[in-house]
Symmetry: D2
Subunit: 414 residues, 4 copies
């Protein structure tokens, strides 16, 4: 698979090598965790131990200093070839540390001691292999950018109330970054509240039971009058989702997820190609690879994978280039919407093509892939999660991309 | 759903009404049987009791006398709205009795006492609600039309050896009709061997564990030196699959299956339409049905369902018309290939569109359908079985349709 | 092509036979009229002479008494195999007379002498082969249902002002039925003004020059203070397009157009199949039909044609059945929206599949079809007109179908 | 259009700037040349004058020294935004000079004086703006790689006989490089015969009349006993198309063509976006860009363009990297097949997506784009040429990609 995505920075090369080493180990347990819908704690521990979980942590805090979203995406892509659930769970934490690192550098450069301390503390914890972070955004009954979970004023800080769904990685998280609404007199904000696992008023529901990605621990979390001190609240933007911080958070969390679904598709392609190059069928007992319909199916997979890799590579390279060449105060909301529209093009395309690739693989398998004994049957279920992942669903993405392209206010008509 | 398919004969109306009454009852148990991969014996018993399982049995033998493949298809379509697994399992038996009735009528008309007695006996059993029949065709490692299971000469008849896969309905079948190869000195035949369940040399594997259609009991059956008397062997055609009997059997078994996958898609459409007409989401709290992307998704489903219903209706009406206007000796292999090419067009199209409809429904569900708690997550797994069902896979169907249309020998290049 | 659509009524059989006789004659001139963008007057004259142009005229007025929209559609389908431009031009007139006949029967039955006289006069003229009618609906800058062409009060009637585009058949029309807006004190109506060709204030622009359907004479017509007497104005519904008359007019005009685009696709399929069954290419010099990619391309065409025929047949049969079983006062706006949603499903699907079939045929032609010398290059241009034809564009159709299905007000959000 | 492809080398930047300056000038004449099917000689002259036509000529011979296929592709992409016909005609010459330069450098480095002299002479001519080269490959009745045009032994060299089709650029070419078969006693070769325009035995047919690309001069050329001296014959590989020279020629000619079709799609997108941002329609008189269906159509175009750009960029960058890092003797046939499979993925995908983008643009135009007065109607015809362009048709490409991926002999089963 020589046309696969390759890392372009030194920390990226280290990280991707770590991920490639983890993948076969994770693969060996994937079927079992899928069947039982259990969270593979051992995978997370292995990544804490290898250092992969600290990839985005600055070297000053004990990490690899990986800043390239391209390379981060490539690493998550490799993890997904072993286990998609672990890949998306890891991306949750890696994306959070990427954002924290950016915030820490900015706070340090601009002298914002409070933020520098908080983010620095978190990064040191991750760097030491002692902290797992998880971002809680999605809620049933609303749309990203419009959290209903709310912070209200209380003695000594704020009270957090609400229910978060799809809390991937939360079974092992030490720290939750909870997206919430905060209504002030003159402002209606999205904020992130930093909450330690096990705090009073936090309930993990252990209710993740889904079609696929069953080992991702994407359970619900309920917050009831959970006290959050002032300094643990970060403003992300306006309720409704505009704001550079909000957009950077969205963008940096998405590309790794897309890499994961590409990784699932690549793994499926590998399985099918290997299979048809060795299986024979009566009456001719020719290799299946010699049948023209199989050749065509494989070609269609190759085309979709080639397009998917190219888009993901180009989009993440653009992001890296933009962030490398723009100081925080040079980053504009319009630039970010343009970049995010490109990210959404890539997300929409790649996640759909990943579904298509697996579907074609099933067809090429001739029915064998439909059996539970085949990894294809699991990957068919896993890959369908892609279009649901943040930021936007396909329909929302179409509207967003269209509006940005047409120079309109990109707020969705929800 | 006023544009649904409707029966056109009196026995058809009775049968479809029975199926519509069974469907909600079957639906109430579908999730549980799916989870546990158990076979819903109670559903089969209910259909034996209501008379639906004897639909294709002549009135002389205690059945409804249903001969219309159109109406048979409509009934199976209704069953599938309740439980797809039960629908395809029922179609197995119903198709077998449709073929047996045709053979019985022909044998009676042409004075073939042996066949008349054997088929008459089977039909009486079914008519009395005391016999379930199951056809075993598929094998791993070969293609329909080229069975590797084989009959070899033995004292007092033939010995049957081989392994059949995807033996839908077999857990409760009393009688297996086993497709096998019989090499004679001057002939290489496909035959059906009629074998009673529980005979010596028959092993049920209880190994059905698949992505979907988990309650269909599609387990393997192994035959080891199973003795089959001469009179229990029917010649179906040449090994390789040509022959009018073989083609009539293929054709009559397919349309009900297609009806089943249409039924799954219709049920999914019903669930989603009902859902978006009642659910609301922040920030606007409008009904989801008022969102333009939802309207478009629903329109796309309507178009696919309209096309699917029209094709299935037209194809089965053509079949009914052909069989009603052609005596057995007027039926030609060329006519059957033309009809079968049309059947394959319909199968390929409808089974794919059913997959597409469920995929769109998942998208429209916004992630809710991905949870195990939603019936959509089960129906997404069930519907994907469609393209694998007999006769041809999509790739085989393309080749077959193309060759028939272009006036070539339709034998597949396997 | 034994699976083609066949007429089901006696007048339909006569009409379709006439059309089948005209088609090869029309085909012989199609390339020339296409090149020069000239209107094939001789085709219209031939149809007036054969009686085909009076198909929908009651026998009392000298016509065939064709009332089945199914059979009308089949006839137009046959014309289009010869010349698509003539087919859509003919449908314009045929649809107008179908509506006039319905209005005449209703006026006669309900004792509305004025309408009976006007429509009766028109029908007699058509029945005598002496009158061609053309309906003018489309305008640049607005949407069907919202005409900007307007009738304003004047001495002795109304003044008509406005510009109509896509005036198919207008070069030879004797009578224009012009959709216009009429604002009354308490009402804002869509009306049809009946205007004789050559009247004062009517200007034909002779400006039809398009990608395809170049021989359809779909030029602009400009009306400047054109006087229309009171009795020549028929109310069709509210401005915006609701109302049973308006909907019946829309529905009855569409199905023939869809039949025309199906006819183009069928002709293309015929050309390509014939071609690959006779052409050979180096290095093997096998017939092209023996290549697996060609077989697949042909199979994909067959599937799309089978689906298209089935939908068109089922939809028009439903319409016939509805109109046959409902007296005018039993026809409800809700029923019509349901029927029209089905018509729009069929229009959207068939017109798109016709485009796809021609595209695949071009691919299968290996480049030969791209040359002007090949009829495929013309049919590729012609067939693309389909999605633009009334009533709705694909995007409008999606919205309409979705809203009707979801029980919402079907007015488009324009 | 900030996400467009950008050149990455200095000569590339110069070349692309030249092309961007030519494009609007070419655009001003495109409609007229299309209507009359005339060859835009003035465009070629302008490019000779600006130096763009000598882009791939080494600086030693008066050119820009452009070696990057990526940047060559980007330049052709820009030309196509002005006039697709001129872009593909230019690519013919540019590709030929790219190959000649490579041959010249190799011959110089390895001391092959004859080849160095011949290619050097040609390059000097191009560098001086005095020579236009055209490669003649396609023939009716055979497949690329299997030319039927043949060289036979004659006094003083070889006699060339055959007919070439799709001779793009030939109306102004000074030199034809004619792909032909040469059967030797022990070898059956593909060769290129270098023939001066106007030589004895060469007939230009002036017969180019096609659906689109009407200004590309893709006429037939007939060779009858045309004498070619020994030193004007270059061996390209075995008849049937294997061989590194043959593959390098194929690969280097394709990417610019793909760039051209991407350019057409980009231009169409620009036209439509501009249009919907300024047009309004009754009844609302909102901008069309505010309609959700338009936003979605635009988003779908953006996604397809983003994928197309990314693939083309990645593929050409890979080619540049491979050729930069491999000396001629390090280039293997297996490597080239892998690279070519990737090129074919990109060609198949981008050319199809370009067709889709223009189709969607037509839909979004609401019928206006169907009129000859709109550039969309021309671009709809032009863009459909893409899938026919060399090397492989879509069906051939599927087979080739499949076989390469599956490790089979990539020779097509023709």
């Amino acid at each position: 698979m020589e046309l696969e995505l390759l890392p372009v920075t030194d920390p990226g090369r280290t990280f991707v090598a770590q991920c490639e080493e983890h993948a076969p180990d994770f693969a060996s347990r994937a079927a079992e965790h899928d069947r039982d819908a259990t969270f593979p704690i051992e995978n997370i521990e292995a990544m804490q131990k290898s250092g992969a979980f600290a990839a985005c942590v600055p070297e000053e805090h004990g990490g690899l200093g990986l800043t390239s979203l391209h390379d981060l995406t490539v690493g998550v892509n490799r993890l997904a070839r072993g286990d998609g659930s672990t890949a998306i769970a890891s991306n949750m934490h890696l994306g959070a540390t990427w954002v924290a690192t950016r915030a820490w550098r900015e706070a340090t450069a601009y002298g914002d001691a409070a933020v520098a301390e908080l983010t620095g503390g978190m990064l040191s914890g991750v760097g030491a292999g002692a902290l797992v972070a998880c971002v809680l955004i999605t809620e049933y009954g609303t749309t990203p950018g419009y959290p209903l979970t709310e912070l209200t004023r209380a003695e000594g800080g704020w009270l957090l109330n609400g229910r978060k769904g799809f809390g991937t990685l939360s079974p092992v998280a030490d720290l939750y970054l909870v997206q919430a609404r905060r209504r002030l007199d003159d402002d209606d904000q999205i904020v992130f509240a930093s909450v330690l696992a096990g705090s009073d008023g936090v309930e993990m529901k252990d209710n993740w039971d889904a079609l696929g990605m069953r080992a991702s621990g994407s359970q619900d979390l309920v917050f009831r009058d959970c006290l959050v001190p002032d300094e643990a609240v970060f403003v992300s933007g306006q309720w409704g989702g505009n704001g550079t911080s909000h957009l950077i958070g969205m963008i940096s969390g998405v590309t790794g997820l897309v890499g994961a679904f590409l990784g699932i598709a690549e793994e499926v392609r590998r399985i099918v190609v290997e299979s048809v190059m060795t299986r024979r069928k009566a009456p001719s007992d020719r290799l299946l690879s010699e049948r023209s319909a199989i050749q065509r199916a494989v070609a269609e997979m190759e085309i979709d994978l080639a397009a998917s890799r190219a888009m993901l590579s180009r989009t993440t390279a653009h992001l890296d280039e933009y962030f490398a060449s723009h100081d925080p105060e040079q980053v504009t909301i319009n630039d970010l919407h343009r970049l995010n529209a490109d990210v959404q093009c890539t997300k929409t395309f790649v996640n759909r093509k990943a579904v298509d690739v697996v579907d074609r693989a099933l067809t090429a398998s001739g029915g064998a892939g439909y059996l539970t004994a085949s990894p294809l049957s699991r990957l068919y279920r896993d890959v369908r999660a892609g279009p649901f992942m943040q930021t936007y669903s396909p329909n929302e993405a179409y509207e967003y991309i269209g509006k940005v392209t047409l120079g309109l206010d990109p707020t969705l008509d929800l």
